[in-house]
Amino acid sequence: MASHSNSKHEGGGHGGHGGHHDDGAVHAHISSVPFYIFIFAMLLVFTVITVGQSYVDLGKMNLLVVILIATCKASLVVTFFMHLKHDNRFNALMFVSGLLFIGVFFTYTMNDTERRGEIDETSAVWVLPKTGEHAPGGLDVKVQEERRAKMVKEHAGHGAAGAGGHEAPHGDHHPAPGVTTEQRH
């Protein structure tokens, strides 16, 4: 890459502050000014691409493309502006392991929030709001069916008895489904 032709080493050490093979002085890699400007130009190009892309609807690919471009930019900043390329490798290891834990955070959280069922108002069973299928986990289908029968019965009772039953609990502690189900897609 251009980084080698555009940059020079000072003191002859190649990222050499990791060991004690020298006089103990700091021999950090020094990139040239044109090289830094080149990286900045690349960052600008990616910015123009991502803004331009926002005017084109790629459907579900939108988010993926946006993240991909941002990650290209972030890699340039981390590798060259933040010197990770020529730095002690342990710093890079720490950075990457940090990213790994962010991945764990994302995966486990969204694995939950994406699979939460909601009570469907008409059938009174737990369904996935996005697909309408039975939600995994939680109560099994048989118990859900029993609950449904009970709920239907209660509603029929309310109809006959008239007003006054609004405070009656539905028999479970789950949040009322009404509003959120409508707003979600």
Partner: protein
């Protein structure tokens, strides 16, 4: 950290290591101190990333739950202002990197100049952010309880749960803005130390570390901009 002027002694002979004033007594060599300083800084930066990741996870969860709301509300943000701020921050990252480079080659004057440009960009970023925020406040595009949209762009009314988007918007950009403000503070501090002559070819670590922090602020914005403005 020593704040003494950088003037390494010329005592390379003898059994004792040369111990310049900026080298803390518990370090054998400048390289060892440099490595330790950088390791500490990277530990802090990784912590910062993990700290921000909480907000990004919140973003992911809510965007997945309310995709249409996010699209509608995102269109209320000003792409031009956001884009300008992106370029301003990227440019300030460049000048921060050049400030470090100048310090590495011992060009004190250039270091100071680049640091000042970086600070100016940081201030410009906050000024643009101020205009954006005042516009949002004017239009009632606020988090939670205060969400009362009026005078908005476009004909379609905003969804009733738009407060979720604006809660996340203000939290993410707000915490990032605080980081920018802190960045201005530490950059000024380093600028003053540079002017005082604390740094040299042999000792430029503080310039390096503050620049690392500044690049991280840029890094977070690189993700914030497309995720909030360009949906």
């Amino acid at each position: 950290m020593s704040t003494e002027a950088a003037s390494p002694h010329d005592e390379h002979e003898g059994d004792h290591h040369a111990h310049p004033k900026w080298l803390a007594h518990h370090f054998e060599t400048p390289a060892q101190q440099f490595d330790a300083d950088k390791l500490g800084m990277w530990a802090f930066l990784v912590q910062e990333l993990l700290f921000f990741s909480g907000l990004f996870v919140a973003y992911g969860v809510f965007r997945s739950w309310y995709p249409q709301t996010f699209i509608a509300c995102s269109h209320q943000l000003d792409k031009i202002m956001g884009g300008t701020n992106t370029v301003v921050l990227l440019f300030s990252s460049l000048t921060a990197a050049l400030a470090v480079r100048s310090a590495q080659v011992g060009n004190k004057k250039a270091t100071g100049r680049f640091l000042l440009i970086t600070i100016a960009c940081a201030c410009a970023f906050l000024v643009i952010k101020y205009f954006e925020y005042s516009h949002k406040i004017h239009s009632g595009l606020l988090p939670g309880y205060w969400y009362a949209p009026h005078d908005i762009h476009g004909d379609k009314p905003l969804p009733p749960n738009g407060h979720a988007f604006f809660s996340i918007y203000f939290m993410m950009t707000g915490v990032h803005g605080i980081h920018v403000a802190v960045g201005i503070g530490v950059l000024l501090w380093i600028w003053a130390r540079n002017r005082r002559g604390d740094f040299s070819k042999e000792y430029f670590t503080p310039v390096d570390l503050v620049a690392l922090y500044w690049h991280l602020v840029d890094l977070v914005w690189i993700y914030l901009f497309p995720l909030l403005y360009l949906i």
